[in-house]
Symmetry: C2
Subunit: 419 residues, 2 copies
C-alpha cells in the first residue's frame, strides 16, 4: 500500500539537504571499503579522553543510587532536574546570566529543539499570516531545511562576501537584504557555523538580536560548536544573551551525539511553549545522557576537556588543511577558503567555477576522495545564486594524512576544472 | 515577551489530558509528603529483577567494544542496527511475520511514533481534505490527545458497554458508530488499553483492520502492554498483523521509560515515511537504550522476565484490588470495574453518579487517597456523554496495603455519594 500522506506528511517525508546525498556517499564508501579518503563525515571523532570521561560517568551512575530512577522512571518534560541545575549554575557563575531553572529546557538533541521552535513560532498564525523562520546568513546548517512543517516558512538571506586575504574569505550578514519584521516568527543561525566555520561577530550578532527585539521576535542561536563546550572556537567570540535570545547547546560535539542531548536557555515563556510542544510530541528526552551530562558539567570536566582536548584537536586540523591548500592549490585560480573561526569543517569556495559543485564532487570521487558538495547548505535561500554551486564542505575529522592527500586530490581536480 | 505563536504552536503549547491535572496531583502529594495513598501513578514500578537486567547489560556495554560507537556516534534515523535485527529475528521466529529490517523503525518512545503517524497520515491532504485519526474505542490513552498538530484531526467513537457480571463490565468497539472510510488517515488504539485494561478481541481487532484495509488506511496498534514484552496481558490475545497494520511496541513498561525506546513494525512504505519525518524532526533516537534492548531481546531475557516477573506482579495486584472492591464497595450502588484483561490500571465506572468524576476525585483526596478522574481519557470524543464523568483510573503500581486502603476509602466516598 502506498501511504496517502497529509500535506505535512509530504513535506516531512522528503529528505532534505545533506541527507539527500548521504545515500550516494554511503554506497560509494561501501563500494570499495578502505580505499577512500573520506572528507565527508559529519560524525565527530571519538577522542579517547572524551570517551573515557563518559565511561567514567557511566560507571559512577551504575555505582551510585540513581541508576534505577534515571532509566526506570518517566521524567519531567522539561528535563532531568540535576542537569537543569548544572546548566543554571554554570551559566550564572561563568557568564552572569541570572537564569533560573525555568529558563532551561532539555530536548532530545538540538534538531528537535529547532523543530519545536520552527513550528511553534513559524508557520500560519491565528490571523492566517505566514510567519517566517529567518536564517539571516546563508549558507547555514543543512538540517534547518528539514525542521519546518511547511516549506514556505523558511527564509534565508544571501550574505556579504569579504575577501580578507589572498585565497581567504569571510561571510558577513547583509543587513541591507535581511528582512526581520512583524512577518518573522523566529530567527535562527549557527555560531560557529556548520558548515562554513564562520563566527558572526559579537557586534553583528547583537545587531540581529536588537533588530528582532523591536518586533518581539525570538532569536535562536545554535551554539552547538560554541564555548564553553565543545569550545570549537578559533577566534574571539562572546555568547550573546538577552530577553529575546534562546541560547541553544548540544552535547553532540563533546562525544555524546548518540545520546541526543540538546539544551535551550531563554525567556521562560518561550521555554514553556517549547516544553509543552515536547510533552505532547515526545513526553521527554531520554535520561541516561542527561544524567551523565549533569555530572560532566557540574564537575567542570566537560568545559576543561573541551578546552584542552577538543578545541586544539580541530584547530590543529584546520591549520594543517589550510597549509595543505596553500601548498597544493594553483595560485592563479580564484579559490578561497572560509576563514577558520570554528566548528569541524573547512569550506572551500571555487569562484567562477566552470561547472557545478556536483560535477566537482564527482571528479574528486574519481580521485578516491569524498567531500560534500556545497549546494545542500543553503536551505531556505530560494533565489538563484551561482555561489550556491561553487562550494565544497571538507570534514576536519579525517586524519592528518588523509587531509593532506585530500587537499592534493582536490587541487588536481581544480587545476583541470578551470582550464 | 509573550511569544507570538503559530496555530500549531497554540495547539501544541496546550497541555492535554492527564497532564493538565498532574500539577494538582503533584502539589497535593508534596503538600503532606508521606501522608498519601497514591493510586494516581502512571510511572511503572521499578522491579528489582528488571533493574538488575538493565544494569547487567549496561556493564556489558561498558566492558565490550561498542560503547564508544553507541554513545559517541550519530546513528541511522531508522535505528540502531543490532536492535532492528533483534526485532526482526524475534518476530519472525516467534510469530512468523516474515519481516525484514525495512519493516522496522526505532523512535524515541512510542509517543513520538504516534506524533509522526498522526501528522504524516492525518491532517489536511494535498486535495485540501481533512483526514482523521480515528480512535475506534473511547476511552483510550490520554496522550493521543496531544499528538495531532490540528485539534480537529482526532476523532474518537463511543463503545458498546457490556455488563458481563455483577459489578463487572467490558467495552467493545461499536461498529455501528465507528466511521472508517476515505476520510480516515489512520486508526490508532491501545491493546491492552491504557487506562481501562480492556483487550479488544482478536476477531474485533481483525474486523477493524479489514475495514481499514478497504480504504488503504494504516492501523497503528499500540502494544505498549502486549506480549511478548511487557506481556501485561491477563486474557487470551494474539497480536494481529497485516499489510496495513503498524505494530507499535514500547520499552517503557519493561523498566526503560527513562530511555524512550519505541518500535514500529509495519509495511516498509509506511515505515519509510515515518523514518523520514524522524530524520527531519530529530535525526534519530538515542542509542544507549537501543543497545541495551538489542541484547535483552536477542537473549530472550526480556520476554522471559516479562512473563515470570512483570506479568504476575501486576496480575496479582489486579486480583487483589478486585477482591478489595468486592469486599468494600456497597452492593446496592451501580459500580462496575472493567474486566482486568491487562495493563497496569484498574478502571472503575460509577454508573448514574450524582456528581462528576472531579467531585469524586476531590472527595477521595479528603480521605488522603489520590486517584485520577476518568474524563481526560476520552481524547477526540467530542460529543457529550455522561459516562465520561463517571469513571476513575486506579494505578496498580501501589503496594498491596495501599490498594486495600485505597479501595476502602473509595468505597466510603461512593457510599456517601449515592445517598
Amino acid at each position: 500500500m502506498q501511504p496517502h500522506l497529509s500535506q505535512i506528511g509530504q513535506k516531512m517525508s522528503q529528505l532534505t539537504g545533506v541527507r539527500a546525498i548521504m545515500k550516494d556517499i554511503i554506497e560509494t564508501l561501501q563500494s570499495e571499503p578502505g580505499k577512500w579518503v573520506n572528507l565527508s563525515a559529519g560524525n565527530p571523532l571519538i577522542l579517547p579522553e572524551i570517551e573515557a570521561m563518559w565511561r567514567d560517568y557511566t560507571q559512577q551512575l551504575l555505582a551510585g543510587p540513581h541508576f534505577g530512577e534515571v532509566v526506570g522512571r518517566y521524567g519531567a518534560s522539561q528535563g532531568y532536574e540535576p542537569l537543569i541545575e548544572a546548566v543554571v549554575d554554570w551559566f550564572n557563575s561563568h557568564y552572569g546570566w541570572g537564569i533560573t531553572r525555568r529558563n532551561v529546557l532539555i530536548t532530545p538533541g538540538s534538531q528537535s529543539l529547532y523543530f519545536y521552535a520552527a513550528n511553534c513560532l513559524g508557520g500560519v498564525d491565528a490571523d492566517g499570516m505566514l510567519r517566517k523562520i529567518v536564517l539571516p546568513l546563508s549558507p547555514d546548517y543543512t538540517g534547518y531545511g528539514g525542521v519546518t512543517l511547511n516549506a514556505e516558512t523558511l527564509q534565508a538571506y544571501k550574505p556579504t562576501i569579504d575577501i580578507i586575504a589572498p585565497h581567504r574569505f569571510k561571510y558577513r550578514p547583509d543587513f541591507a537584504q535581511m528582512q526581520i519584521d512583524d512577518t518573522t516568527g523566529a530567527v535562527l543561525f549557527s555560531r560557529p557555523c556548520n558548515p562554513t566555520g564562520n563566527v558572526i561577530s559579537d557586534a553583528e550578532t547583537q545587531q540581529i538580536v536588537d533588530l528582532a527585539a523591536q518586533y518581539n521576535v525570538p532569536v535562536f542561536i545554535d551554539s552547538a560548536y560554541a564555548l564553553p563546550f565543545p569550545n570549537l572556537v578559533f577566534t574571539e567570540m562572546t555568547p550573546v544573551f538577552g530577553e529575546n535570545v534562546v541560547h541553544c547547546l548540544s552535547l553532540s560535539k563533546v562525544g555524546l551525539p548518540g545520546e541526543r542531548v540538546g539544551i535551550a536557555i531563554g525567556d521562560e515563556r518561550n521555554i514553556h511553549a517549547l516544553e509543552c510542544f515536547q510533552a505532547n510530541a515526545s513526553i521527554h528526552s531520554s535520561r541516561y545522557g542527561q544524567a551523565l551530562a549533569a555530572q560532566a558539567i557540574s564537575s567542570g570536566e566537560l568545559a576543561r576537556l573541551s578546552l584542552s582536548v577538543i578545541k586544539p584537536h580541530y584547530q590543529r586540523k584546520a591549520a594543517l588543511l589550510t597549509a595543505a591548500f596553500d601548498r597544493e592549490m594553483p595560485n592563479d585560480v580564484p579559490w578561497y577558503l572560509h576563514k577558520a573561526e570554528g566548528a569541524i569543517f573547512a569550506w572551500l569556495w571555487l569562484k567562477d567555477l566552470p561547472m557545478t559543485d556536483w560535477d566537482v564532487y564527482r571528479k574528486i570521487k574519481q580521485e578516491h576522495v569524498i567531500v560534500v558538495p556545497g549546494s545542500p547548505f543553503f536551505p531556505g535561500l530560494k533565489e538563484e545564486w551561482a555561489h550556491k554551486q561553487q562550494c565544497l564542505r571538507i570534514s576536519l575529522t579525517a586524519s592528518e594524512e588523509d587531509l593532506e592527500a585530500g587537499a592534493a586530490a582536490i587541487a588536481r581536480v581544480v587545476k583541470k576544472a578551470y582550464v
